[in-house]
């Protein structure tokens, strides 16, 4: 069984209609069939409650409200996932039954949760984690951006441990739970016989195209601004011709509120050219920095290209590790793009002085 949950807007006019459906599909279906909407391979099974926006509520009441939201969500998910829990399947042999398949044969099957596809913030809600943490390993919040070699990964999240910790509810247990960025309370995923931290699967659309490329573009634009090449960059960006299926861009990256996944996919094909061309020239002191910025962009794009491969072997996966390592080596030059207002103001003041000279 593969579960999918993803929020969607139905309408922006009639009172902001939003839905948060849970879909279910079968992992045994071939991906060709699964990809066709006309086959109805993905079936809606539940609509999760959407919490109200609580902006104007004092902090203490807001925390209470969030806890209530989490309990509500769990109440509903418990009903949905009830047949899959430990209570219904106490041992590995139990839970099998004869399933009527589409070829009118009966098969002896046992449904098992294999994956739960959602985007990053939803995993935090579903797994009772704090926002902006990794749901696969226990990486501390301030080390998310560091390069982790494949042999030095952080320990994986163990939801059975979290269950015992939140059942204990002692001071030591709470401290450990807090350190792992886990919320208290009942969570249905901790009662399902599967490895919960394995359920989230990497998703190219949200994590790469709309996620990382958006970050990358913003960092690049800030870098260009700092080196006074933003105008040049935008001119080159909008002059990309309509070649094959590329649509020519009429607006610069900043002018558009949100680019969709397809545009980002197109963008990944010529972004490196735009960056390289707009970082041409420059004084000898700037050259090495420009080189590193170009290297970082190239490494991230290469990583994306490798990730899109339809089949992998040891060579391609070693390439992926290699490119990821390169992204982390050169990313420091983009650091100011992530800085707060104070740091930016300080740097800007220094730069204007330099330009005057």
């Amino acid at each position: 069984m593969i579960f999918i949950s993803d929020g969607t807007h139905l309408s922006n006019f009639a009172g902001d209609k939003k839905e948060w459906p849970v879909y279910m599909t079968n992992g045994y279906l071939s991906s060709n069939l699964q990809g066709m909407p006309s086959t109805h391979s993905i079936v809606i099974i539940a609509l999760l409650p959407i919490p109200i926006k609580n902006r104007n509520i004092p902090q203490e009441r807001r925390d209470d409200q969030w806890q209530t939201n989490r309990e509500m969500l769990d109440e509903l998910l418990t009903r949905v996932l009830h047949p899959l829990t430990f209570k219904q399947n106490p041992s590995a042999e139990s839970g099998y039954y004869n399933v009527l398949c589409a070829d009118s044969n009966f098969r002896h099957c046992k449904p098992v949760v294999a994956a739960w596809l959602a985007n990053c913030p939803e995993y935090s809600d579903l797994h009772h984690l704090e926002q902006h943490v990794c749901f696969r390993c226990e990486c501390p919040k301030n080390k998310l951006g560091d390069y982790i070699p494949p042999d030095k990964q952080h320990p994986r999240r163990d939801h059975n441990l979290y269950r015992t910790l939140s059942d204990d509810n002692t001071k030591a247990a709470n401290a450990e739970r807090y350190w792992c960025h886990v919320h208290r309370g009942f969570n249905v995923f901790r009662h399902i016989p599967c490895i919960v931290s394995d359920l989230p699967k990497p998703d190219l659309l949200y994590k790469m195209q709309i996620g990382m490329f958006d970050h990358l573009q913003k960092l690049i634009l800030h870098f260009m601004k700092a080196h006074e090449r933003l105008y040049k960059n935008n001119a080159i960006w909008s002059s990309a011709p309509a070649y094959h299926d590329l649509t020519p861009k009429t607006k610069s990256y900043e002018e558009v509120f949100q680019w969709n996944g397809k545009e980002m996919k197109e963008m990944s094909r010529y972004l490196l050219g735009v960056v390289t061309k707009s970082l041409r020239g420059g004084c000898p002191a700037q050259r090495p920095i420009f080189k590193h910025a170009i290297e970082c962009t190239r490494a991230l794009l290469e990583f994306y290209m490798y990730a899109r491969h339809k089949s992998h072997d040891d060579v391609t996966s070693s390439y992926m590790e290699d490119t990821l390592c390169r992204v982390h080596t050169f990313k420091d030059y983009f650091l100011l793009g992530r800085a707060g207002k104070k740091a930016k103001a300080k740097a800007n003041a220094l730069r204007t002085e330099l330009v005057k000279k």
Binding site: S31, G145, L336
Partner: protein, 234 residues
Amino acid sequence: MNAWRDYISHEIEVSKELDADINFPKIHLMSHWVEQIRQYGDLQQYCADRHDQAHKTNLQDGWNASNHNLNSLPQVITFQRRILCFEIREFNLQALAQHRGNSAATCKVLPSGVDLAAPQSSQSYAKPEFMGPQNRRDGKHPDAMIKDFRALLKNMQHSTHRVTIYNGTWECLNLRVVTRRIYRMNNFTQWSSVFTMVLRFKLRALKVNAYLRFVDAQEARAGAEGTDGTTGCG
């Protein structure tokens, strides 16, 4: 020159001192990808644009068809269930049509003249072939829909013909089909909607041009002219 170099090293220092960091979850998640690819295969199968499509058939179509009112959500769900019900029925018909040996089961799905003559109770239809959700608004089992369908047929029945559908080379399926007018049966458009529906299922399943042959017409004509009544239709 040196001023610029100083500036840039200073920029990195300043941004490190203050709150600048590249600590967001997405850049960290990339480090798990290689491991996950080794375990579960390529990433295209989990790509979200696949299930973004599901919003359209499951929610947005229903929303567009609803009255956008306070109780629009039940309308969305019933709409989606209704579409799903009919499409599952269609898939079952296609699957049955592909099994040529399974003509007994096909007769049960497609109401034939024999069935019309001796109507059966709704329970006597072969259950395993129907897997449509039980979602009629009036609480009827989907198999009861066949009964309604047969009753409808009975009212509009003008004459019953036995038709063979060929797909060029081999005989596919023998059917009994209801037609409105006997004398214009060469003209495809003149046939009743029931027949066109049945034919649509067949053509989709075969994906080739089909040839229709009126078996009983041929029998009638065989005495008079001795030609075969094959009609081309694509």
